[in-house]
Symmetry: C2
């Protein structure tokens, strides 16, 4: 590995951004208001963690991620749909996301609902048009169904992150053993990501995060720090990082940034 | 054809109902509230038009529809998701559907949004788990994306109906010529279905329809009767039926109920 993790993340974030920009429907194609809202919600200051995890998983399994960017970028559409719907007045009623106004605040509640629907549908369209691997499509659908992301309370984030990592392996035609290791890596890294989010929500300001801080406590949400305390949550975080690093080693590969990404996720400050 | 169209529709409606009942997550599996709401929204007095059109299309193309019931029933999940979201306060704000209270009225607005999301996701899960034909999954996704059902004003219904008919043909491995004829049949039948809906909305009571009547006019919606007048809409209906019948004949097949279904749709009273 000649690149630092920061360079790796920046490189692929740029590639994912380009893929999203090029493949989302143009803002002027009717229905313009929905396409404008889709682009507003997706294009912006996202970290693109899920697509980049899929890229790293595919690369660790020996595939060139470039031709897989469309199905991997579909993961960002799914993540964004979940944010747009969660931010609605009937749910979290949030008005700040990725450093700017939430979609329904800008476009109205009706367009907020339809935009989330459109992003979710678009994601499956991108997946189906870019792979013949229906097992991969099923993996993503099950990660985000009522038993997965939609119904998840504490482990909502971990479900889609695990699905993203496994998608990367499946589209790289990885062995069952590697897929199993990727799944364990995804579960550890996804839960770690969630715990860091929860800790940051307590410790940082809205300005630093680009989204409303302190709302978990305000809404009485079930979070790891709330359930087991901040100290125990930090200890759990260390164990999860070790599990992620161990599973990344099982996967092996000539270029494998999975351990570095897990570490980056655990140490991030926003 | 030894069965009347009524018998044919009743038989397959029962099969679709059984497939939905057996494949939806049990109401007691967590998150119970969402699974209860999914079942409430889907199971009930639906006509199951879209799955039955897929059945008839597959049968006309020579396939046994029985093993295809799971992907075909997914079309009913999609149709129901669109109803659940359209009925929300921020959209049509409707409280009557299929003869009973709408989902968000019973379960609250937040669960209404999440239930629609869960039904849409579940549909792609059913499609992906029951077919290796990613072209078929893509066909459905594109029928209901921002340029299809979500963005459609006048032709919203026609998009999913066309997608349903084409799905039936694709899963029956029909030739490109037959798929093209099915697409034309679906467009004609779908638009006819929409016009009949619009006319019924003007002419029948809420009790007769099991949903709020007269709301198109009340909301100033773009409908065919509103755009071109009831008389012209009826004339267009006859032309569309003829187109549907002609294309059903192009498809041929030993058992072909497509023309009979198109006629039934045009003559229905609720």
């Amino acid at each position: 590995m000649t690149n630092s993790i920061e360079q790796y993340l920046a490189r692929w974030r740029k590639e994912v951004d380009r893929t999203l920009e090029e493949n989302l429907p143009p803002a002027k194609t009717p229905p313009a208001i929905i396409h404008e809202a889709m682009r507003y919600a997706v294009l912006g200051a996202g970290k693109r963690v899920r697509p980049i995890l899929a890229v790293a998983a595919a690369e660790a399994c020996g595939a060139n991620p470039e031709p897989l960017l469309v199905p991997f970028a579909a993961l960002e559409l799914i993540h964004t749909y979940s944010l747009v719907h969660d931010d609605l007045p009937a749910l979290d009623d949030d008005n700040l996301r990725r450093g700017r106004k939430t979609t329904h605040v800008v476009f109205g509640e009706a367009i907020g609902i339809l935009t989330g629907d459109a992003l979710l549908t678009e994601a499956f369209s991108w997946l189906a048009r870019s792979t013949n691997n229906s097992r991969a499509i099923r993996e993503v659908a099950e990660a985000i169904d009522s038993k997965g992301m939609i119904g998840g309370q504490v482990d909502k984030t971990a479900k889609l992150i695990t699905g993203s990592v496994v998608l990367g392996g499946l589209l790289a035609n990885a062995s069952d053993e590697k897929i199993a290791a990727l799944r364990r890596y995804g579960e550890s890294t996804g839960l770690a990501f969630q715990i860091v989010d929860d800790l940051l929500d307590q410790e940082r300001t809205s300005e630093e995060l680009g989204k409303t801080a302190g709302k978990d406590v305000a809404q009485g949400k079930l979070t790891y720090p709330a359930l087991i305390g901040s100290g125990a949550a930090r200890k759990r975080l260390e164990e999860l990082l070790q599990e992620a690093v161990d599973n990344a080693a099982v996967i092996g590969g000539r270029v494998n940034y999975l351990a570095a990404i897990a570490r980056y996720i655990c140490e991030r400050r926003s």
